[in-house]
């Protein structure tokens, strides 16, 4: 039995006419790191909200099909129970700062206070989480005085500290520089190896190729493709459907037409492209 199990999930927001998610079937195993890609309006964020329980508990609207995570069924649970298992961090870091706390340390402890973690354990967990995402140096700063990328790390840490079984991330690195992005991907990869299941919406395909176990390509609320990063991200179907693809893939695709790319598979990352082009 899969850790995440979505059966025929169709969902419509209260004010929209067409469903945002259409007949989604999805199984994800425990400890898997799954990336979700897709053009604007494909339903990526809605999928995140569905996994995190905010659809339908927060947004209302009409949902059919079943959503199961860690053996619990979404429609039969309440949101406050659901969030104990599933952590959600999304794109805009500024709006994820609670506003109730004056320092980063307190901000990260907020979720633990709400869920009744004893004080000593709380302090240890916050300190560990700060170390994990490498923001111990920000502990005493006001969360509002940080840059966008730093705020995103704080938002991510605030969720990680709660030790969810499933981590749902909606473009968590959108405001980070390349170094920050690499560090965050590294942390998430490690969390997945330690058994946390991760579903992450991300546009940076080269990073996905390096770190994710599986890619789901979403379009118009439906799963268009699903599989290993190296297969999905180099597929012709993606290029034809307006997905963002790696420049190395498109270069090699053109090269292949000219007979300059000899390998069977197209590259996604720089290393793969260098390796492929230097061996002909």
């Amino acid at each position: 039995m899969a850790f995440i199990n979505l059966q025929n999930v169709t969902y419509k927001y209260p004010l929209t006419k067409t469903p945002v998610l259409q007949n989604i079937n999805l199984q994800i195993n425990e400890g898997e790191f799954v990336a979700v890609i897709g053009p604007n309006g494909a339903g990526k964020s809605t999928l995140c909200y569905t996994l995190a329980g905010f659809v339908p508990h927060f947004f209302k609207g009409e949902i059919s099909g079943t959503v199961e995570v860690a053996g619990m069924e979404s429609s039969k649970s309440t949101l406050d129970e659901w969030v104990l298992n599933v952590g959600l961090a999304f794109q805009n870091p500024f709006n994820q700062i609670s506003g109730a706390k004056y320092t980063v340390f307190e901000e990260i402890a907020f979720g633990l206070e709400n869920t009744g973690v004893p004080r000593d354990e709380m302090k240890t967990r916050v300190e560990e989480a700060l170390k994990l995402t490498d923001i111990s140096n920000l502990a005493d700063r006001s969360p509002y005085s940080l840059s966008g990328g730093q705020q995103q790390r704080v938002a991510l840490t605030s969720i990680l500290v709660m030790q969810p079984k499933l981590l749902v991330l909606d473009e968590p690195t959108s405001q980070m520089d390349p170094i920050g992005t690499r560090e965050v991907f590294g942390v998430i990869r490690k969390m997945a190896e330690d058994g946390m299941t991760v579903v992450m919406v991300e546009h940076k395909v080269e990073w996905i190729a390096n770190f994710a176990d599986r890619v789901i390509a979403l379009k118009d609320g439906q799963i268009l493709l699903e599989g290993k990063p190296s297969e999905v991200l180099t597929s012709d179907v993606l290029a034809e459907n307006g997905f963002g693809i790696s420049r190395y893939t498109s270069t090699a695709r053109e090269a292949k037409k000219q007979g300059l790319w000899k390998k069977e598979n197209l590259p996604v990352t720089l290393d793969e492209a260098v390796e492929g082009f230097s061996n002909w």
Binding site: Y49, S98, A100, E106, G111, L112, N114, G116, R119, S142
Partner: protein, 259 residues
Amino acid sequence: MHERLSFYIKRNSVIHHLNPLTKLTLVLALILIAFTSPWYWTPHLLVLIAIIPLSFLGKVAPEFFKTALRLILPAAGFLFLMQAFFQPVGETVIFKFYFLDMTQESLMFAFRNATRVIVMVSAFTFLLLTTHPSELMSDLTRRGLPGQFAYVIISTLQILPQMQAKAQTIISAQRSRGLDTESSFIRRMGSLTPLIGPLVFGSLAEVEERAIAIEARGFTSKKVKTSLHEIPDPSSDKLIRWVLIILVIISIALKLWLS
């Protein structure tokens, strides 16, 4: 941009180490006594023998006097003049300004009312200077104040400066596209109207996201909340609170008995 709406000054003093509820009780007791005491000079004495010494004890005297001079005295002075001239009591006219009379009685009345306002505002200033807002709120939450209520107070204090900054960003963006912010008042009002939409609707959208963010962190969890900081409440604090409550009761009783 990073300034926050908090008067709190971090110092190491006896007052800072008091439990927040004790300080809140102290402030409320001062105000209640100032308003109920039957003796005319009570509010004035409270300022001299309680509030000013307390501000020294709390090591916040410079900031306290600065706020008093800038904010409290002008407001109280204005109130004093209004009441002194417009209160229609008393016979003994001591000052005439065209048709306005200032009588000895109205002067006395105005002086006491102005001092009561000074007691009220300066006592709260003292509280804000020596008490961290989140400490006060988490202590009150621990004692049963609803978490949502405390959240609204604290987040408003933090989010208002952010909204100001956002309004400034919108205005700057529009000015760079030729918005008129320097000609006549009427024209400026007209040109500011289209700015309200983005600010209000933008803020509403933010509220939804923020609600999701805090919900994702268990804000409505039914578990008993804990708190990161331990706020000590020794028996000496409890004793101080009881003494204050008894003083208030005596003051109210005297008022009822003498009237």
